[in-house]
Amino acid sequence: MAARLLIALAGAAALLGGCAAAPRAPATTLAEAGLKATGSFSAEVRNVATQLREADAADSFTRTWEICQSPAPGVCVPSVTPIGLAERRNGLADVVDLRARAIDQLGAAYAAFKEEAAYDQSTDLQGAAQSAIDSANSFGQAAAALNQGKRFIPAVPGEVGALLDFGFGVLGDRLQRKRLLRANREIAQAVLQLRNGIQNELEVFLTLADYLVGKRTAARLVFYDANLTSPMDIMTPLAEQLNVTLVPGAESTIAGSPALKTALRATMEANSRVEVLEAQGRYRAGIAGLDALLRQHRELEKKQSVTVGDVERIIDQLNASLAKYATSQGEQGNAQQQQQQQQQQQQQQ
C-alpha cells in the first residue's frame, strides 16, 4: 500500500514535467548580495551608535582644554561632559542601534533565503524516491519468496522507476520554485519597509555624521594646537596628494612657522569636511544598496534571474570607504604609538 501511495505521488509528479525550474542560482546570487549589503550597512549604523557612546572622553578633553585657554582666574579645572548630554547621547545611540537591529534581521532573512536556494529539493526528492522504489522492490521480492518461489515481478519496474524518478525531480523543482518566489516577495516587502523608514531618517543621520566628525576634529585640533601630534600626519599626505617630496627637516620648518602651522590647521578642517561627506556618503550608499536589492527582487520575480552588478558596485564603494576610514583611524593610532615610542626613547636617553 505504501508502494502504491508512492507510485500515485510520483505519477502526479511526472505530470508536472515542463514547468520552469526553481531559480536557485539567481536566488543564491541575490541572497549573497543581500547579505553583503545588509552587513555593510549595519556596520555603518552601529559605528554611529558606538561613536555616540564613546564621545564623552574626547569631548571632556576638548572642553577642558578650551576652558583652560581662558584668562579667567581659577577656571582651569577638569570639565567632564555634563551628565545630561552623556545620557542624551547614550539614549540616541540605543535608538540608532534599533536601526542596525532591523538591518541585521533583514540580513538573517537573506541568510535563510540563501540556505533555501542552496538546497536541491529535486535531487533530494529523487534520492528519496529511489530509496522508496528500492524498498518496494525488495518488498516484492520478499513477498514472492514467501509465495513459494513464484516469479518475482518488481513492484516498480525499472522503466517506470526512471519515470517516477524524473517526476519526483520535477515535483521537487516546482515546490522549491514556489517557495523561492514566495520568499523573494516576503523579503522584498521587508526591504521596501526598511528602505522607506531609513530614507525618512536621512536628515538625522546626515547631521549625526557631521556632529560626530565635528567632535573628533575638535579633539584632533586640540592635539595639534598643543603640539601633541606631529604636523607631518597632515603634511605628508598633503605632499603625497600634490605629488611633491618634502625636504628633510620639514617638521622643524613647520614648527618654526606660525603661518605653516595655521595653513596645516586649515588642511585639517578641510579634511574634516571630506570625512563628513564620506560618512554621509556611506549612509546614502546603504540606502542605494537597498534600492538596488529591490530592483533585483523585482527582476527575480519577473525573469527569475538577476544581475547584481549594481548591488556589488554600491557595496564595493561602501566597503572601500569603510576600509579607508578604518585605515585612517589605524594610521592615527600608529602615528600616536610611534610618537609615544619616540618620547620614551628620548626619556631613556
Binding site: 578650551e66 584668562p71 524498498s135 521537487g172 522549491q176 517557495r179 526598511l194
Partner: protein, 128 residues
Amino acid sequence: MPSSSNNNNNNNNNSSSPRDRLTVIYNAYKAASARRASDLMQATTAEEVRAITDNVDALEASYLDAARRSLDATGPDIEASYQAALSATQKVEKAYAQGQALAARIQAVSGVVAAVGNLVTKAAGAAA
C-alpha cells in the same frame, strides 16, 4: 552642513517641517560650538566661562533631543520593518523545513516498506 534636498515637506505655506527644525537647531549648535574656543579665550571671569559653556551645552542638548524626537517619530516604521524582516525570516525557514520534510516523509515511508519487507523475508525463511 547637512543638505535639506531630500526634504519631504509638503507644506505650501511657510511653516517648517521637523527636518527643517532639526537642521536649524543643529546649525545653531554647530556655530556656537565652533565659536566656543575663541569666546572662552576672551572670557575674563568664571561666570562668563560658565555662561559660554552652558550656552553651547544647551544647544547641543536641544540638537540631541531633536534628533531623538525625529528617530522616535519614525521608530514605529523601523520596528515594523524589523517585524517584516523577522516574519520573512521565519516564513522562509518554515517553508524550507517543510520542503525538506517531504523528502524525509518519503524516506520514512520507504523505511517502513523496507522493515515490512524484512519481516516478510524472515517469515519466508521460517516457512521454508
